[in-house]
Symmetry: D2
Subunit: 402 residues, 4 copies
């Protein structure tokens, strides 16, 4: 196969995760960085025919103004998480990617996200959903043509939306499609409009956020109808990853978890948005539900997320796990996780792009449930133990090894 | 099957783990305690024909004087880890078990353990290995006859011996057996003499300590020759359990562990013995080796074990894991584990007794490698990831389910 | 001086702190316990003519039914913080004290506290403030006569009330007194009614809680008018104590605190009441204000208090302090405090009773500002650095040494 | 006073602390950095006539080759603790200071430090102590003349020497002086030779390390004889600072410390030298002794220092404090301190230079015991409580305020 071009289209293209993923892609291509943190760089995936870093081209939607370089420079200065030399070396490519970023959508994003938007978003304030979808599709098609990409993978990395009300929406794509044609008031948030735009064009859609995205039955059906695939939701990068690793240990040893308290503090833009209770609710749901599913009972649990500006991109989690052992004796495990949010998430975004691209190339359709280990709330998968989820990914890879 | 009696013969029968396991067995039999902490009480093992708590009778070897009641009362008072009412309710049975405890062996145990021994041990100071084995076998036979036990499982819970020199010993049982007959100076430590005594009688032997035990090829061969089974070594109860759970996560996410520092502090008798560098070396080896095996490379690691008297049975571990993520950014995970050593180990001892008894009843011979998840240094198993080890146990159980 | 009797009258007499203080008093009197945790048992206070443990008699107000023994037995069983033998040895005296406990007041305590009240409180639901004060005073007089106590110290240990609205109340005692005579709707919470009842009888009043108590100018004036003394407010026992010890270090080293995050989890009755946001607000205010006062600037701070049932009396605090050092480099201090709430507070209650009794005996009036080191929000003291507060106490003691 | 020049002569001039202090001095002079972390920049010291940053010139002794720029660049790259722009902006001045750095001494430094030395040190291997002193004094005089400095303050920041044997040395300067003239084998380590060289020239000497330095009675006498001053020893920057802050709290609350465990891990050059047990012993002594002095009794304590390469300049300390409260109940405080060693120490070095310069200018002689809050083992001061030590500094400053 002559080396095809592959597009990654990022929603929230100048956010912390997006700009870090973009920088990492460029840095690896230039040999400035090792593939540390990339699951697909492990030997277990060496025999898959995955796209290589130099095949990828990046574009995306964004509601904010500014540049990728500024976003990275802020990460570097405020959080000391990036090497200045690497950013400088990639400046020209970053500017080129900036030129491929288009205006996104604020539909259903609420006032907290709205306040982040640039001037250019203002004329779109009243845009009906159907028009938004058409506009987004225009951007996607233009990107694909301009870059001559054989395939485009759309990845949602935008700020977490408020909890969406889903009940009133039709279950089938046909009905939802009709509703979109007929009404300017369909209660779909931006994340779902992006999903529809992508899937309807046959482009795979990955939802790395807790927002609604493609989880609606009607949108999942659309993926099947158009013969494309999707995956989600909410990247599992830190504290929840640890929960999905540690909770199975308590279960396997028949140690009864009495309470599990999780405090998360961080100071990046994601944190600022989650400081709004409406957005926080979306996030906390995903961080908490897996305990009951893994343990088979629901211990008292508490999850807090607090915006502490000084921490910047450093997400620090303190978990206090109180458990009962033999003869009823209570014991304690505490952990403190100090991770850079963007740098934990970014490689997983590139992994997902590669893995989803391969599935797409091989004609796999519908939800890609073997990707569950990447997500806090894996669509199409009831399994929440990390180790078991990862075994499923390995099994999938083994079947497709060349 | 009419309910047979099963003997558990504990070496180190009045130690913290042994007395807690004995108390727990009695308490569960009386309905005073739930089976929390017992792996074999999980639903996954419900369809195995495991012996029930009321089938077990307990005896053992010990080098110290005192009583089980005193050992438990000290645990309760100094470490506040047991309910007084439970100990009181079991007092009569504990006294009865005390009457079935016989003098152990100090061979190769070094002066630190020697100082713990009671007066009654003094006449045995120069006992040649072959005589020791015969004496121990006499005790085991007497116990089996007196209790009419269908099978006796021998479990080593004695204090960790100094690192043993194994190189000079013959590889086959036949040669080792001859050497024992001919020489009073065979460099076998007590743990191996107990192992030989048990296996030679066809009784399964479980080594829950880092001591040499049955690991010698010649002794493993003896198990096969006598058609019995064995398992070991060094119970995985706390910090090493966490290592075997967390290290696979770093591996699966391609996060490079730069250093892993483990500090353990505790104040029970086990801690006092391990405060002697010769004994500590045995222990640390097992706590450290698995990292390289799980990760595929050896990060700088440091393990310390300190005897801090005030902590009593509360073993507190602080681990500091420094790792590198995407674009080379270093991050940190720290955990503090506050567990009661005896109460974490005791249920695993009962689990092992039940599982080994079933293997023995079913005629399984040699090393029981499916029990690897219970041990820091699993004999006969290269796998160190806890989740994979546990899957092997579940698979073994599934095959034998009724 | 022939040994006089001293009364301690505890509001919330069957709560965790109260019952522990009562038990400790009895245990020390019987020689069953050392005075660990008692500030007044330090050599620095040896030359003060403080009352001795056998001089004290205990009574109190309570809204709940049950007994002191039951309260202590629950503490022991649920939290494993007390020795059973000590409780058993004091059972008779505890029962005697139970007989001296009278019905308290629920005025202004809100529905969360109301739900804890026993049947006997029901007839008092509509009692006007003036009648409540008279009733409480009747109880205090009866106690003093029955026990022949030379002095009675009233200590408020009741659950934290919701934040009280104070603005509408008169500033002078004369006017407040008249208002109480004339109106049945004066917005004074129970803690202030107890304060008025005590001070009006010339009995000192100590407020160990964040409730309003004697902080109103009019009530402070009453203490002066009646020639008695008072102290408060909100005992400084754990995390805030650490703040008042650590923040001065950052100040003295010119290290800039960027953010200070404090998470508190615990599961006792106090925690249950604080789980109600109206009550939590009272508490958090006191835990947070001192930072700005010590540092001279207000870093971002966050205080949470969560009710985690399984922890019982074990209050666990995790604090994350992010600070900037030389050349702007950010660094971190984290601490985890695992203290028994009742056992940290109880000795301070006895200390305060002794110290206030001495002040009262010596004729000191008004607010006892030298007791500031005992309180989160010291009345009459602007100093919040623990070390400086403690120096003031030592200076006071040195002046009164014999 | 026209603005005089003040020399700071640093022993170990290219070490982490020295190069950071030098950079910080330059950065503040250029307005590139705030004086965060500098005690003397606090308002409490504003009315002292302290030298300003632009008065200072820097020179020093060093045994290693390389440059200040390289040392700083390594700190930045390996530990991410410095801003590249700041280093770049000061490059010319750093190079100039490099030209004023002379060869130090390896006498009594042991092989671990010896291995760090550059080629240029080789010819000095057998230099007798008296010759070394003369050579060092030549360097100091040359520096003072070349820079026209009114006063030169000598600060020892070199790697910790092995524990020195002091017993055999004479107590008076006269005798020690004679011995140095007569013998080439006087067992004085380099730190003491530097001290003699400086004090003998009337230059103040500050020992920021645990090495012997000026602690010998004979050398302390020399300071008095020459009418100059000195201070030491071992800068208190992190974990020991916390000990001197927290231990007084336990004392003031009569909480009995049962055990205090301190684990320190770090990876800079200092850590590499301390990894040698002979050097570690010097350090641990100072970190441990203060507990008994503050508490009035000696709880079990344990201090470990481990060299963990990946941590670079990030010194992480975990302390576990087990204490007993009321009614004998054990509780726990744990803290984790994540500080940059060089950046915590560097501002204190500049503070000491300023404070000692003022004392020198004012004619104060002998040990400057009011500087005790800066040191782990304050010479001439029995007080170890940080707050009290700091009060002494404030009192000294208040007396000298203008």
């Amino acid at each position: 196969m002559p080396s095809q071009r592959i597009g990654i289209w990022i929603i929230g293209a100048r956010g912390g995760v997006a700009s870090t993923a973009t920088l990492g892609l460029l840095a690896m291509r230039k040999g400035l960085s090792e593939p540390t943190g990339l699951v697909t760089a492990l030997p277990e995936f060496a025999r898959l025919d995955l796209a290589t870093w130099d095949q990828f081209v990046v574009g995306g939607h964004e509601i904010r103004e500014s540049t990728l370089f500024d976003a990275l420079d802020r990460l570097r200065t405020e959080s000391r998480v990036l090497e200045p030399a690497v950013i400088d070396a990639c400046r020209a490519e970053l500017t080129e990617i900036d030129s491929r970023i288009r205006r996104g959508s604020l539909t259903g994003c609420g006032p907290t996200i709205g306040r982040l938007a640039g001037e250019a978003m203002r004329p779109l304030a009243e845009e009906p959903p159907r028009d938004t979808i058409r506009r987004l599709q225009g951007d996607l098609r233009e990107f694909q043509q301009a870059t001559k990409a054989a395939r485009v993978i759309v990845v949602n990395l935008a700020s977490t939306e408020p909890v969406a009300v889903q009940s009133s929406l039709p279950e089938s794509w046909k009905e939802l499609d009709r509703l979109l044609e007929e009404s300017a008031r369909v209660p779909l948030p931006a994340s779902s409009l992006y999903a529809i735009a992508a899937l309807d064009l046959g482009m795979p859609y990955v939802n790395f956020t807790p927002s609604l995205g493609a989880t609606l039955p009607a949108i999942q059906e659309l993926a099947e109808v158009r013969g494309t695939c999707h995956a989600g939701q909410d990247g599992k990068t830190g504290e929840t990853l640890l929960k999905s690793v540690l909770a199975p240990m308590f279960a396997a040893r028949n140690l009864e978890v009495l309470s599990w308290v999780s405090h998360n503090i961080f100071g990046n833009l994601d944190g600022q948005v989650l400081d709004d209770p409406a957005h926080k609710a979306s996030k906390i749901k995903g961080k908490d539900a897996l305990l009951g599913k893994i343990l088979g009972y629901a211990p008292q649990s508490h999850v807090s997320i607090e915006f502490i500006r000084s921490l910047g991109d450093w997400k620090t989690a303190w978990d206090h796990i109180h458990f009962r052992g033999f003869l009823g004796t209570p014991m304690t495990l505490q952990f403190t996780w100090q991770g850079c949010d963007s740098l934990l998430a970014a490689p997983l975004v590139l992994d997902l792009a590669r893995l989803v691209e391969l599935s797409s190339r091989r004609g796999e359709t519908g939800v890609l449930s073997h990707l569950g280990s990447f997500f806090k709330q894996p669509i199409g998968l009831e399994e929440h133990k990390f180790s078991q989820q990862y075994c499923q990914l390995l099994a999938w890879a083994a079947e497709r090894a060349q």
